[in-house]
């Protein structure tokens, strides 16, 4: 098993008001089997032993599904592979490497400390319309409305978004279009989403703008880093939905 000696340049920032800077740390004998976050754990244990404040970073499931982990590694959200940071392993790096670790950068994702950012803007976009308005207690049988398999599968591909925000961090405009379009697409494709179709897309886009996310210029950087491979087709669909809603539906 390979062991790596690494130099880490890590963004340190005391709180949301502080001015941050890079600190350099040396870390030796890291097993290539370790995940990137386990490497960060080793760094933090090392710092703690030296009574230095450990590096704060968001992480939870470490299975690539909760969407909590959020680092920019060597300039790329989630690092060199198209996966979540927690699913990145040290076998992707070489002995002697210098690795730069920063928080996701976007005006709408303010840094709270070190590598931790506030992504509650995403929650507010969902609150604006990312749902089907049904109360608990529906008594329509689940098989009442057949949904063609290809449609259900496509809706699932959109619904698979984990809300990590890598799309925003990768975009030069910090646009949230891929995130918003994935949710809009899921409901646009399904029969359950039809009644609120026009209202939903307008509300969610308006909230996205209000949060300060930038505009989309179709460079596709978002999709290229998306750990769940959400495709640009979703953005095309969002644009079409938005236009149709604006032209044909009442203003909301």
């Amino acid at each position: 098993m390979r062991k790596l000696n690494l130099t880490l340049k890590v963004w340190r920032q005391k709180d949301d008001k502080g001015k941050g800077k890079f600190e350099t740390y040396k870390l030796n004998n890291v097993s290539e089997e370790s995940s990137f976050l386990e490497m960060m754990d080793i760094l933090n244990e090392d710092l703690a032993t030296k009574k230095i404040d450990p590096v704060a970073f968001d992480h939870d499931c470490r299975e690539g599904i909760c969407g909590t982990c959020s680092m920019v590694i060597n300039g790329k959200p989630h690092g060199p592979l198209q996966t979540t940071t927690c699913q990145l392993h040290m076998r992707s790096f070489s002995d002697g490497d210098t690795i730069t670790v920063e928080p996701f950068r976007a005006g709408a994702f303010p840094v709270l400390k070190d590598l931790v950012v506030d992504r509650s803007a995403f929650d507010r976009i969902i609150q604006a319309g990312g749902y089907v308005s049904v109360n608990t207690g529906v008594s329509v049988d689940a098989n009442e409305i057949p949904i063609p398999k290809d449609i259900a599968d496509e809706a699932m591909d959109s619904a698979t978004c984990i809300g990590c925000g890598a799309c925003v961090a990768a975009c030069k405009n910090a646009s949230a279009m891929l995130f918003v379009s994935a949710k809009v697409s899921q409901f646009t494709l399904l029969p359950q989403g039809q009644p609120e179709r026009h209202r939903r897309v307008q509300k969610m886009v308006a909230q996205m703008d209000e949060e300060g996310f930038g505009a989309c210029t179709n460079t596709g950087a978002c999709s290229a880093v998306c750990p769940k491979e959400i495709s640009l087709t979703n953005i095309a669909r969002l644009n079409r939905e938005y236009l149709t809603a604006k032209v044909t539906a009442q203003e909301v």
């Binding site: 386990e38 499931c61 608990t136 689940a142 599968d153």
Partner: protein
């Protein structure tokens, strides 16, 4: 302490819930807005409860320690959710789901609760489809099903290998809608550190804002704990890093009894441990056992590559020992069987602590495409983590801690022994007995939140008079200052061992002595070692930084302090239960062919433990389990 009253309604099993629903008092729509309800945790149970109660008109305050309610650990559930729809016409029914669950739990769950769970399972699927949850479908457009361990019917609904994600996002969207409407006030990055009891009723909680460190009080008429399980007491588990017992444990210390703490589930199909810097274990969904075959070499020390070992030299031990359920034997049984063959020295991989899960035959039979369709994302995840390609070489798997059947004791209404304090989902003990079947956790979380608590909570609110209590009340102030004192104590120790070092030590003790096999001797030793560890923790732990900041070390320290105390109670419980049942395997009590040997004459009860003060022995209360509808028998999957 009063005798435990489970409040199980009278009447025939199949009519209990409907009858009970009719007898429960209602709160009229105009009055609902006068009540405040606190929901802690936003996983399947919490998010569904918060949304449903807000829809009814209650004012809800919801809390999660994560940065968003959508990240609760329910999101990681892979395989599916059971429901007795019988869409496959293969003989399923509410009664069969009830029976499978009771039997799967090795006859240590309450009949009435389990029956209700099976009954409402069908409504869950209807609800989720209406929310736009994209379940897997057949070409005809109807919902698809697959099988899971412990069942001989196909009743599991799924969305790829991401069923938990899709169900949680459904509940999260319902919750988001209520947040937008103003009926739910959401507190992200906020951890509950105490429950406040005023005049014998739960009236609120004390929390810490994880960004600013601010300690705050929140008052309400009822408190719902939907805070998940305590598998992280083992340090290494499939739980998320943040999953913890703190909310439940603090409630326990305030008077809520803790039931069956030793009932933990070791899941048979996880990626094996690779080294000592490992932080967590990853589950490979049980659904893989629909097509994968589990085996080890017949001979000890057979070091050939798996592809080079012919069938004649392979031992498909699950198929051999349990021919009728084979690779789909329940989790506890499959885990123990894996341990057994590894203990015999036939384990594989660099540590010898792994068995093969082989898709060779399925790929030959159905083609690689079909397998990719079914499990593509799981295969990718495996390859990502291990660097090996499971299409070409068998997966290696080993059991790991996954779920905890034990939890806060609740009655049929999901109320703990503190009036007004409820526990839902994995945080309670009620439905899975000594072993949970696959695809039943999602079912229980959503059953509790969508379809049980909206009825039972109203009855409590309508039946009680409430004094006006707000967060300035002296009980809140007292709880706040106690919470702060504990935090300051942790920060002031400034010892020389890190929090993780203690957590890892505790985990090893629990795994070695209170894991897959337990003995009186080992448990006694564990108790001794946990006590020493606890003493050392409060003398030597090093928690860097201050309270008034985002301090992840402090968060961990608070949680580990509670895990250590819980660990001791788990050991006490395992010592008391001198029988083997489900996931609780006492080596002294086994049948001739090494299966769990229950003692129904003496142990057919729920152990409910009462906290009697720091460093005092806990007191055991027993709720006897009465079985009127199933016959207790030696569980057989042969």
């Amino acid at each position: 302490m009063a005798v435990l009253d489970a409040k199980i309604p009278d009447g025939p099993l199949a009519e209990k819930w409907s009858k009970h629903k009719f007898n429960l008092k209602l709160v009229n729509p105009a009055n609902k807005r006068k009540y405040e309800v606190i929901v802690v945790g936003t996983g399947l149970a919490g998010a569904s409860a918060a949304a449903s109660l807000a829809e009814l008109g209650y004012n809800v305050k919801a809390f999660c320690f994560q940065d968003s309610p959508r990240r609760a650990h329910s999101i990681a559930a892979q395989g599916g959710i059971n429901a007795a729809k019988n869409y496959q016409n293969d003989g399923d029914s509410v009664h069969r789901l009830f029976y499978d669950t009771i039997k799967g739990g090795d006859y240590r769950a309450r009949e009435a609760n389990v029956y209700r769970l099976a009954e409402v399972s069908v409504n869950i699927i209807d609800q989720c489809v209406a929310q736009g949850v994209p379940f897997a479908r057949e070409y005809g457009g109807l919902l698809s099903n697959r099988s899971f361990g412990g069942a001989q019917v196909s009743r599991t609904f799924y969305a790829k290998g991401q069923t938990g994600q899709q169900l949680l996002l459904g509940a999260y969207s319902a919750l988001s809608r209520q947040i937008a409407s103003g009926k739910v006030k959401m507190y992200n990055r906020t951890e509950m550190l105490d429950v406040v009891v005023v005049d014998g009723k739960a009236r609120g909680i004390v929390t810490r804002n994880l960004v600013t460190g601010k300690i705050e009080s929140h008052s309400a008429h009822a408190v719902l704990l939907c805070t998940g399980g305590y598998g992280n007491v083992f340090f290494l588990s499939t739980n998320a890093m943040g999953s913890n017992v703190t909310a439940a444990w603090r409630a326990h210390k305030k008077g809520a009894l803790f039931a069956n703490p030793c009932f933990t589930q070791i899941h048979p199909t996880c990626i094996p441990v690779h080294g000592d810097s490992q932080s967590k274990l990853t589950l490979m969904s049980e659904s893989l056992r629909n097509d994968g075959r589990v085996w080890v070499p017949k001979a000890i020390g057979d070091k050939r590559k798996p592809e080079d070992i012919p069938d004649a030299d392979r031992d498909y031990y699950l198929e051999r020992k349990y021919p009728s359920f084979g690779n789909l034997s329940p989790r506890d049984i499959s885990s123990r069987a894996a341990k057994e063959v590894c203990d015999e020295g036939r384990g594989v991989g660099s540590t010898g602590k792994a068995v093969y899960l082989d898709f060779r035959d399925a790929i030959k039979r159905d083609g690689r495409n079909a397998i990719e369709q079914r499990y593509g994302n799981l295969f990718d995840m495996y390859q990502q983590i291990t660097g090996q390609n499971p299409y070409e070489t068998p997966m290696m798997i080993y059991p790991a801690v996954h779920y905890t059947m034990g939890g806060l004791w609740v009655d049929y209404n999901l109320m703990t022994t503190i009036p007004g304090l409820y526990a839902l989902g994995e945080a309670n003990f009620s439905d899975h007995g000594a072993n949970r079947l696959g695809a039943s956790a999602l079912m229980q979380g959503l059953a509790d939140g969508y379809f049980v608590i909206p009825y039972t909570l109203g009855d409590y609110l309508a039946s009680n008079k409430f004094e006006a209590v707000n967060s300035d009340h002296s009980e809140f102030k007292k709880a706040e200052s106690e919470t702060l004192a504990t935090i300051q104590k942790l920060l002031s120790i400034k010892g020389n061992k890190t929090v993780d070092q203690y957590h890892k030590e505790l985990g090893l003790i629990m795994w070695d002595y209170c894991g897959m096999a337990r003995s009186a001797e080992g448990l006694a030793l564990a108790k001794e070692r946990i006590r020493t560890l606890k003493e050392d923790f409060w003398k030597n732990v090093n928690v860097i930084g201050a309270n008034e900041e985002l301090n992840q070390t402090l968060e961990k320290a608070c949680r580990v302090a509670d895990f250590i105390e819980l660990g001791e109670l788990m050991v006490d419980d395992a010592l008391d239960r001198k029988e083997s049942c489900g996931g609780h395997f006492r080596v002294e009590y086994q049948t001739e062919d090494s299966e769990a040997k229950r003692d129904d004459a003496n142990y057919c009860y729920v152990s409910a433990w009462e906290f009697k003060g720091a460093n005092q022995p806990s007191q055991l209360h027993k709720e006897n389990l009465v079985f009127e509808n199933v016959k207790l028998s030696q569980r057989s999957y042969k």
